[in-house]
Symmetry: C2
Amino acid sequence: MTVTATRLAKPAPSLDPMIRLVANDMNAVNQVIVDRMRSEIPLIPQLAGHLISGGGKRMRPMLTLASAQLLGYQGTSHHVLAAAVEFIHTATLLHDDVVDGSDLRRGRRTANIIWGNPASVLVGDFLFSRSFQLMVDAGSLKVLNILSGASAVIAEGEVNQLTAVRQVGLPEERYLSIIDAKTAALFAAACRIAAVVAERPEAEELALEAYGRNLGIAFQLIDDAIDYVSDAGTMGKDAGDDFREGKMTLPVILAYARGNEEERTFWKDAVEGRRTSDEDFAHAIALVRKSRAVDDTMARARHYGGLAIEAIRGFADGPAKAAMIEAVEFAVARAY
Amino acid sequence: MTVTATRLAKPAPSLDPMIRLVANDMNAVNQVIVDRMRSEIPLIPQLAGHLISGGGKRMRPMLTLASAQLLGYQGTSHHVLAAAVEFIHTATLLHDDVVDGSDLRRGRRTANIIWGNPASVLVGDFLFSRSFQLMVDAGSLKVLNILSGASAVIAEGEVNQLTAVRQVGLPEERYLSIIDAKTAALFAAACRIAAVVAERPEAEELALEAYGRNLGIAFQLIDDAIDYVSDAGTMGKDAGDDFREGKMTLPVILAYARGNEEERTFWKDAVEGRRTSDEDFAHAIALVRKSRAVDDTMARARHYGGLAIEAIRGFADGPAKAAMIEAVEFAVARAY
């Protein structure tokens, strides 16, 4: 019996195949990142390096590289563009941590805590400018169009999220449009630009865009679910950050919608900042579980994950496609 | 005698000829600005509009338009690019006010005071992204190269300034490199891109770049001098802001360098934040005057103004050239 069980057990999905797939390319990307982070002003590489070398998975540049391999692209333009994508992402993280007043990211103190908000704002601006310089180096107006569009959408999504904070009763649709903008837009662009540099037909651009977008939504849904099932150790950020900041993420939206009068009063008080203790957070977790709000958030993540996998069905089978499918499975399985 | 004196008196230099020169073009630029400031997120046009319609002179887009006229450019690409330049400038102002904690700009409450730092950071990011979308619309990789380079240099200059704050004894060279980056780089780029869209030889690009750069340095020198000769009414910002923030501007650098031991102790205390009262500021103004630090700051501004005028000497005479020369004379005469 034990033998059978072992043989039948499917290993947990992993990001490792994708990491291995792009390992050589990623070395080239890292070289671009290190080279272009340089500045005569020492604080810039110091602060940027803290975050860039701070244990991130480089998910977005990895998607550019994997997508390029899926298409059999043989050039090197994608290395510069993958670095540009990572710079945009890093700039938004620096600004996010200022906006949220966060003090912990990936288990380390945030740049704004170490060097202050002004430095984080300005170094974010620097990285953002550098990302556009990298795109100019790559020489494709079409890529510039996609990434400048994504950047504008990200900023819009962040402002939208800011105005949605502490709004109990936020509709699920508004939440979805926020995560579509602030997270999925860059995932989508990161994948799509690979088809542009590989000079593939627009249908393939759109297929990769759909893969990235749906993966990005699934990724963010799981991130938001994890805030209500996990602790600071596994998250690398303070457990309950979203809760204490009054962020209307899907677990809260569903738990509020499904709550009785007493529970809705609790959520309103919590979201508006009148219940922020550890006991309040524990109660929130209990309500979120009771209402199956986390389960349903994860179910929605699996739905979008399925759409992501479906989007690349038409591409030739091979290690790139397999790794991209497993990356989706990994993303939606993270919370277990 | 009175008649003669009246006849001989030269009218004060004015920006009006340049404003009249570009009035029609500026209407087109303003239309682009209004169109591209739009967003489904109402806070974005609201906050951006507060600053963009807040009485700024639109100096930088005006320089793009005047330079294009100097070259006899007949197209319309420069309208979009002038709007892009204004968006970059507005984004940096939004972030500057967050970084400096300013509460007054051009005589009005700053956006960060009205809507908070998070909104100012994110709307700045939005405008910055939009500026790159506008450049993509204009379709010139060369312009994108110039303006993304200028943006990176501006951010570097701002970080450099941040690390120079409260450093009494800052060398004049370091101050010059800061204002060259944070102010002159965008003036230079605004002028240069006109030569690119007009497809003029590189020598003309460089001449306009030199005009813009030297005008930008002169402009910033006078701005920094005004902080020590004027009051909030004329400045549209709080008098003594630079003083209280411990900013090492040229008037302070010169007054400190020329001070006796007692005066240097005062400056050190002031710059390091231990002397910030109105009496301290009055004493600072007295020291700056006594040491001729403001006069010499203005003399340096006139020097750079002269270089700006010299840079465009080779272009054909006409209303555009005359307006550009008078704009320099206006810039360096502002403090009187």
